[in-house]
């Protein structure tokens, strides 16, 4: 196989940096002790972990590396932030405010709490997936103890006005938890400037290893441990530490800081090129989320191509060596349209034709040009196979993206022939 291989799924996961892997290696077979041990096998590990902790703290400008809790990943971090905070603070109130487009790890943690006496208010987003800080203010009641707003949406790339929301929560004396998984490593983050008390991120999203997540938690926010056992992580997260992963995460954070501006610049350039190229060559295609620029994270594009469905696009792209995601990869097994696309009120037909292309530091202009050359052919092939395309051309159904005024909507048509309304 000498096809070009273009990985465009960096918002799902990234390869580990060579430097990070090299730093991890001795911790598997040489420095393999547990940091709880008092002998040199353990002590040597402690020292490595402390350094890693400092590097990771620097990535988000935390006051102290003691404010970081290492978990097993972004999901556990969301769970600990939300359930741990709710547990520790339930005497103060039982209401949580959350944006409508958070990741399932946030949504489902909150849903769990609603089964245990908590109430939740969901804040809507506008058509490009942005939260209005005033809507957050309006949702806060005197029972509110926590606001949950992510920094960047994982599906559509919208950067949220967290700092403005932080001012509101500070004013009200409420804690703010920010899921920064889709942001960390791809834009500068300063927890003090943002005014968040809790913030989570996951090194495998910026060239660190899997199996490790971080929860920043400043002294003002108490969280109750939810994995019980020994006194690791200062008693806040029990269990033998995933030492090599923490070491690798430290290196990934260090390199991310050093290369941040250059990575962002490179990836943003590719993002713009990809956007321009695809829109030039494909008709009836829609960008979900903001246009490339200050409101969008630099590395991702979420697109809906009309009259065809997403999985087919993904498989044909994969066949041509291009790896992309469709909808929210986390929910792809459930056949459901991502709640993010529903929240931006994307037409059902467009939600089905959804593809996410997320760029990384190692992608090249050639990669992008290859995608620009390949994707239109795939779209043609699938449209050619799609009954909707011909029906559109014949005026039976209309386009959502560029309405012609002829025909009924796709959604109406689907409902007509299936006998049930599309969901």
């Amino acid at each position: 196989m000498d096809k070009r291989s273009v990985y465009l799924d960096h918002q799902t996961t990234t390869p580990v940096l060579e430097e990070a892997l090299q730093a991890m290696l001795p911790y598997f077979r040489e420095v393999y002790g547990s940091p709880s041990s008092l002998h040199r096998f353990g002590l040597q590990v402690r020292e490595g972990l402390k350094e890693a902790r400092q590097k990771i703290a620097a990535l988000i400008n935390a006051e102290s590396e003691e404010d970081l809790i290492f978990t097993s990943g972004g999901t556990e971090s969301s769970n600990l932030a939300i359930k741990g905070f709710a547990d520790a603070n339930h005497r103060k109130g039982n209401h949580i405010v959350v944006s409508a487009i958070e990741h399932p790890s946030v949504m489902n943690s909150i849903e769990y709490l609603t089964k245990h006496g908590f109430e939740v208010s969901s804040v809507p987003v506008n058509a490009i997936g942005q939260i209005n800080p005033e809507d957050v203010r309006a949702a806060i009641t005197d029972k509110t103890i926590l606001v949950c707003v992510h920094l960047v949406n994982h599906d559509i790339g919208t950067i949220q006005p967290v700092k403005e929301i932080g001012k509101i929560t500070a004013e009200k004396g409420i804690a703010l938890y920010c899921d920064a998984l889709a942001a960390a490593g791809w834009m500068p983050i300063d927890v003090r400037d943002l005014g968040v008390q809790l913030l989570s991120f996951s090194p495998h999203r910026f060239y660190g290893p899997k199996g490790i997540g971080v929860l920043y938690r400043n002294r003002k926010a108490r969280v109750t441990s939810h994995i019980h056992g020994g006194v690791q992580e200062g008693g806040r997260r029990a269990g033998t530490e995933n030492v090599p992963a923490i070491i690798g995460a430290g290196v990934a954070a260090e390199v991310a800081i050093k290369e941040m501006s250059q990575r962002v610049e490179h990836v943003a350039m590719l993002q713009k090129r990809l956007y321009d190229g695809l829109w030039k060559h494909i008709k009836y295609i829609k960008l979900n989320g903001p246009v490339p620029g200050p409101l969008r994270i630099c590395n991702t594009l979420n697109l809906s191509t009309e009259f065809i469905e997403g999985e087919g696009q993904l498989l044909l792209l994969d066949y041509q060596g291009i790896a992309v995601a469709s909808g929210s990869s986390c929910v792809s097994k459930s056949l459901k349209v991502s709640h993010v696309l529903s929240a931006i009120q994307l037409d059902h037909a467009l939600a089905q034709g959804n593809i996410i292309m997320s760029l990384g530091k190692d992608n090249t202009v050639e990669d992008v040009d290859y995608v620009i050359e390949t994707f239109p052919k795939i779209v043609d092939k699938l449209r050619n196979m799609s009954p909707m395309w011909k029906e559109f051309e014949e005026g039976v159904i209309d386009s959502v993206i560029a309405p012609t005024g002829r025909g009924k909507s796709f959604t109406q048509h689907a409902a007509d022939i299936s006998g049930k309304p599309a969901h």
Partner: protein
Amino acid sequence: MKETKEYTLYNDTVMDHFLNPRNMGDVQEADGVGEVGAAACGDIMKISLKIRDGKIEDARFKTFGCGSAIASSSMATELIKGRTLEEAKNFSNQEVVDALGGLPPVKIHCSVLAEEALKAAIEDYEAKQAKVPVVA
């Protein structure tokens, strides 16, 4: 890891029918056309038939849907060509699943959709026949 292996979502037969669909298109001056949609996932499938002497002479499909929906319609049209209408009425999605060498559990409904589209096309044909007086 097998270095030489191609890693694909579906088995080789499904992938083959997805990448190289058989009978894709519309039968010209079709005798019966069925278009059905699946509420579960929003897929839409259209099968058009040419019927001669009570037999399916030609069958073509168009599908808006995932890889297994496309493969299912490709396989279904392939299977039913040459069958009598009576045989075709007894056609079951399981035949598609078996001929494809299996589908993931969440994708079985794609094969059901193919069965439904075929039956809708036969119904359409029979409805048309009922209206048109048979030319002896």
